[in-house]
């Protein structure tokens, strides 16, 4: 049972439930304390040590039901069948045989008749696999399937495409070959026993298939999802199909939340400042003027403010969607984020993000501000709207390809922003190699940025945001 519990914990881990070795030990103690007799009690007890949030608990319950679905029944039956096997080895066996033969002659004479003429089929009927099929001994069958699965390493299953392959291997390991060749043999002879044997074969295949399906859900679902996350975070943002939008959003949220919690922790740290003489003396009065405690002035850090400006013109539209989505999430979780969008003109879009759900907000922004790019004009708009608010606590994030259709870049405004802000960050979806080529003004704008980076997939974005938060604490 201990090894069972350990492999159950493996399953939990693959479903994103974090279980430490210490918790594994706790789970063992819980299991021994509660005993295995009462399933619900055990489930509740394990849930308390292994699942740490309501969400994890839901995952836990689903996994528990799937995992111990067959295992627990295995145990009662393991005992029973063991007793059957061991207690009357000699006396029961022939009786059993005659019993099956007796019933077989009653219900399924063709097969037995066929066995009488063909030693191959007789041998088949003698095999433990066939015996459990004929006796309809599901428990024994499940045990056999489990054993075979272990042999072929079903727990390694990763992708749904492997299901067929594993089913085949398990069947082979169980000796289904014998059954299969018998079916072919009977087919050749057009024996009346054919349909019955076929039925047994189908039952077996069905059982194995559903077993593989269950195991796949247990072992592979989590890994497949991890794999997907990995793929998604490396895919270029504009290549992602619409169907992944939802998933990407979730990923962004997860990331933004992680960053936000770290961020809020940093904000709370107070820095010790100068000695607060007045307070120290006042508090000292109670102690006859002896200053037992010293008090310090505390420097409260200003909350950093973030201004984000996003290009939504045609050339970057596909990226902008995702950049906007990130902004949306960021505004959701961080205080004081103001968002702006522009193509030829610029406007503040924070209110859209506050009021509408993400898809709607992005659509509205695109509809309102989409068009041909004019960085000069847009920067002037931005200066008018927000330049006065930029101070040494402000971080300005520019998202755009800096392709200005050969217009006036209004570099002086960028420089003004650069001088006032604590930090100016430019994220460009284009590869660094093409910066400055054609109508790209990136190299000139870059001179007015503290930090500029290429950013067109989530991995890069994640790294950049981390850097950003490190410097704003």
């Amino acid at each position: 049972m201990q090894s069972n519990l350990v492999s159950f914990i493996q399953v939990l881990r693959s479903h994103d439930v974090r279980v430490s070795p210490a918790e594994t030990l706790d789970a063992m103690t819980v299991a021994t304390t509660l005993g295995y007799a009462n399933r619900n009690l055990l489930r509740d007890g394990l849930a308390m040590t292994l699942a740490k949030t309501p969400a994890e608990e839901a995952v836990f319950l689903a996994c528990f039901d799937r995992y111990f679905y067959q295992r627990l029944s295995d145990f009662s039956l393991g005992d029973a069948s063991a007793a059957d096997d061991e207690a009357p080895p000699a006396s029961e066996e022939p009786a059993n045989e005659t019993g099956t033969q007796g019933t077989a002659t009653g219900d399924a004479s063709p097969l037995v008749a066929a066995a009488a003429t063909d030693p191959g089929i007789a041998a088949l009927l003698e095999s433990p696999l066939m015996r459990s099929l004929v006796d309809n001994n599901r428990n024994e069958l499940t045990v056999a399937i489990g054993r075979a699965a272990q042999e072929v390493g079903l727990q390694q299953i990763q992708l749904f495409t492997q299901k067929g392959q594993f089913t085949r291997r398990i069947l082979d390991a169980m000796g289904e070959e014998q059954l299969r060749s018998a079916v072919i043999e009977l087919e050749r002879r057009e024996s009346p026993a054919l349909t019955e044997l076929q039925r047994y074969r189908d039952i077996l295949r069905e059982e194995v298939r559903s077993y593989v399906e269950r195991e796949y859900l247990l072992h592979a679902e989590g890994r497949t999802r991890q794999f997907m996350d990995e793929v998604l975070s490396k895919t270029r943002l504009n290549n992602i199909e619409h169907m992944y939008l939802h998933k990407v959003h979730e990923l962004v949220r997860k990331m933004a939340k992680k960053l936000a919690s770290r961020y809020s922790r940093k904000r709370r740290q107070l820095k010790r400042g100068q000695l607060n003489m007045a307070k120290t003396m006042r508090r000292g009065i109670a102690n006859d003027g002896v200053m037992f405690n010293v008090y310090w002035r505390q420097i409260r850090r200003e909350k950093p403010q973030i201004l984000a400006v996003c290009d939504v013109s045609g050339s970057v539209a596909a990226y902008a969607k995702f950049l906007l989505m990130f902004l949306y999430s960021l505004q959701d979780v961080l205080p004081k984020v103001r968002s702006f969008a522009f193509a030829s003109q610029l406007g503040e879009v924070s209110s859209y993000f506050d009021e509408y759900p993400v898809e709607k907000a992005i659509e509205l922004v695109n509809w309102k501000y989409g068009g041909a790019t004019d960085y000069g004009n847009s920067l002037r708009d931005f200066a008018r709207l927000a330049l006065d608010d930029i101070n040494s606590n402000t971080t300005v994030i520019m998202l755009g390809d800096a392709r200005n259709n050969n217009g006036d870049p209004a570099l002086e405004i960028m420089q003004a922003i650069y001088q006032r802000a604590r930090q100016v960050i430019w994220l460009n979806p284009e590869s660094r190699r093409v910066w400055g080529s054609g109508d790209s003004e990136m190299l000139r704008y870059q001179s007015a940025c503290h930090f500029s980076a290429e950013c067109n997939n989530l991995k890069q974005l994640e790294r950049i945001v981390d850097q950003l938060l490190k410097s704003t604490h």
């Binding site: 509660l34 922790r265 037992f292």
Partner: protein
């Protein structure tokens, strides 16, 4: 804590019955948590919406075991001076003043500074001994002879740093005081932490605890709770009012009515001698259940449909 001392905790069913005797009706899951906490000597982290009886669980356990309940209410800015211990500054000061006069006698005949210091050293660190220690809840819980129930209420309201402070206490049941050394619990207390989930608790803390989530109870369980708390309400009304509260919880409200509100409502209906629910009655007593004007308006709009669902059936 030894099992021999507390036969009340011998099994899950026994705990359940024990709680019931004190008017706390709980699900098997809750009883299992208490059982495990006792067996494994682990703290329980109780989470759930406000008003489902998180604090009550600790109180009832204290009653059941006849142990003192020591409660630490968390809030932002709570620090070790208020949670662990503090030196009795006033007393220390008073003693120094008194001793100042004795100092001359003491040092009489001492030759040179070295000898004076030597003599003073003989007195050791009396000012930093347990006599001058003001125990705060956490330390107090360690000092109880028979053990105690320690309730750390609303841990999510405390600062992040405070959680780290708790780690030593929760895993080893000991407190380190630099001037004295490590104080081990005489009998390890049973610890309940509650959280309303206003922020995430750190993994380190979660790892040391059993995690118990108390959701809103089922209709059947809540009826039993109401019956035990307000025994005079008749069965039909009880069923009706619990059904109504359950349908209220389905609405999108700022704050769903919790068990405590159901009990309050049952009490007020009893005072009003209500025989069964009708629209007028519910409308006038809705403020017992719902605490926000917006919620009351939302519920009022749906009142008829909600009552339809709560017809005695």
């Amino acid at each position: 804590m030894q099992l021999d001392d507390f036969p009340q905790l011998a099994s899950v069913t026994q705990i359940e019955q024990g709680f019931e005797a004190f008017g706390y009706i709980c699900s098997t899951k809750i009883a299992t948590a208490v059982f495990l906490a006792f067996q494994l000597r682990k703290p329980i982290l109780v989470e759930g919406p406000p008003g489902v009886g998180k604090t009550e669980l600790a109180k009832t356990t204290a009653q059941l075991l006849d142990l003192p309940l020591i409660r630490l209410q968390c809030y932002e800015g709570l620090d070790e001076a208020k949670a662990l211990y503090e030196w009795k500054y006033g007393k220390q000061l008073l003693y120094t003043q008194v001793l100042k006069e004795k100092l001359g006698d003491l040092l009489k005949g001492a030759k040179g500074l070295a000898e004076s210091v030597e003599r003073l050293h003989q007195f050791g660190d009396i000012f930093y001994s347990e006599d001058f220690l003001e125990p705060r809840p956490l330390l107090k819980a360690m000092q109880q002879e028979r053990g105690a129930i320690l309730l750390i209420d609303e841990i999510d309201k405390a600062d992040y740093e405070f959680e780290s402070l708790l780690l030593e206490i929760l895993s080893d049941y000991q407190i380190s005081i630099p001037e004295i050394g490590t104080i081990k619990a005489r009998t390890s207390p049973m610890v309940f932490l509650t959280s309303n989930n206003t922020r995430d608790i750190s993994d380190a803390l979660k790892r040391r605890c059993l995690h118990l989530y108390i959701p809103f109870p089922s209709v059947e369980l809540e009826e039993r709770i109401v019956r035990s708390r307000v025994p005079n309400v008749d069965a039909q009304l009880r069923h009706q009012l619990v059904e109504f509260v359950h349908s209220l919880r389905q609405l999108d409200l700022k704050k769903s009515p919790a068990i405590s509100e159901t009990i309050d409502w049952a009490r007020s209906l009893l005072l009003l001698h209500a025989g069964q629910l009708d629209e007028e009655l519910v409308r006038s007593t809705l403020n017992v259940l719902l605490k926000f004007e917006d919620d009351i308006e939302a519920a009022n709009a749906e009142l008829r449909a909600l009552l339809q669902g709560a017809r005695p059936g």
